[in-house]
Assembly symmetry: C2
Homo-oligomer: 211 residues x 2
Amino acid sequence: MRTTAHAAAGRGTYHHGNLRAALIEAATALLEAKGPLGVTLRGAARRAGVSQTAPYRHFQSKGALLAAVAEEGFRRLARTITRAARRCRDDPIHALQAMAVAMVGFAAKHPSHYRLMSGPAVRGRDHPALREAAVAAWTILTEAVRDCQRAGGIRGGDSAELAFVLWCLVHGLSVLVVDEQLPPAVRQAIPLERLTEHAARLLLEGLGQRH
Amino acid sequence: MRTTAHAAAGRGTYHHGNLRAALIEAATALLEAKGPLGVTLRGAARRAGVSQTAPYRHFQSKGALLAAVAEEGFRRLARTITRAARRCRDDPIHALQAMAVAMVGFAAKHPSHYRLMSGPAVRGRDHPALREAAVAAWTILTEAVRDCQRAGGIRGGDSAELAFVLWCLVHGLSVLVVDEQLPPAVRQAIPLERLTEHAARLLLEGLGQRH
DNA sequence: ACCTGAACACCGTTCAAGT
DNA sequence: ACCTGAACACCGTTCAAGT
C-alpha cells in the first residue's frame, strides 16, 4: 500500500524503490477493479509510474507477473483457511467444514483473484513458486483430514486421496460461484455459507466410518 | 466440416454461404489448436476467408462468438453424458457414476473447450442461449439423481440440491484436470477414470439412505 | 543495474463505402 | 442484406540507447 502511495505521489524516481513489489500490487489492484481481462502489463507499469518496458527487468513476461499475483493469492487463501480452522480446534470435523466454508467465502470475496489462481493464464508447470504456494494450501487441507482420521471422525486410508475429493468439491463450488454459474434453482434460495456446509456434510457422511 | 472445406477451397465468395456457422467452426478449430488465448475474431475471420469486419454482421462482439462456441460445447457435453447413461439403464446408481466419468472424460479430451465453457470470457447472464444449453446439461444430471431416488438408491429430498453437490464435485475435478492442477501425489498413480469413480462413490455413499 | 523511447506485429471495434 | 478497407486506440514484446 505504501509503495503505491509513493508512486502515485510521483516523488520518487523508482530507481531504488522495490518495483517488483509495486508491480504485483498494481496488477492486483487492476485485477480486483477490472477483472482478469483488465490486467495489463502496460497498465500495471502505468500504475506503478514507470515506462511500459520497465517490468521486463523484473518479470520475464506478463505471465510471470500474473503468476506472482496468483502466488500471493494462494498464500492469502492458506492464511484464510488456517484462521478458520483455528477457531474450532476442539472438533476436527467441524474444523474441516469451517475450512470449506472459508475457502468458498474467499472465492466469493475475491472472484477475479480466485479465477486467476485457477485459470489458464498461469500454469503451475511454468512457475515453481506458484506451484509451491498452491501445494502449501492444499497440504493444510490434507492435514486437517488426517486430524479427523486420528480423531476417528472419518474413515482411514490415504488422507491425500480423501482430501483431494473434498478439494474437488469445494473448488468446484468456488469456481461455479466465481463464474456466476450457480443454477438459478440453487442460487435463489440458499445462502452460500449454508450451501457449502450442506455440500461438505454430504461428503463427510460419505467419508464416515460406517462404510 | 463441409463449410470449412468450401471456404478453404476459396471458390465461393461467401455472399450467401452460412458465415455464422463457418465462424463458429473456425473459432472452435482455433480453440482446440491454440487454446483459449489463441482464439481471435480476426483469426476466425481469416480462417473463414472473409475480412476482419465481416463477423460483426453475425456477432455483436467477440464475446458473442465465444458464447456460441461454448453453447455448442454444452450441447456436446449433454450428448456425451446422455450416451454414457444409456449404456447402463438398468442400474441408476451405476448410470450416475458413468455420467460423472463421462463428464470428466469430456473435459480431459477437450480441455480448451471446457475451459471456455466455464470461463469468464462468456458469462451466461449476457447470453441466454448459452445459459439454456448449460441448464439443459445440468438438468440431465438432476433427472438421473431423481431416477436414483425413485429406485431407492439414494436418499429423498430436493433432487436439484443433491444433483448440485454432485455437479460441484465433478466440475471441480474437471476444472482441476483442465488446468493441470491435480496434486502430484494424486496424478502420479491413479488413472483419471478410477479417480472419478472413486470420488463419485464417496459422495454417493454420503447420499445413501442410511443417514 | 535499472530504466526509457521507438518500433513491430498483433488485437477488438467503428465507420464510411462498396456490391 | 452482406461484405470490404482504412482507421483508432489499444496490446505484448524486442532492441538500441540512456543514466
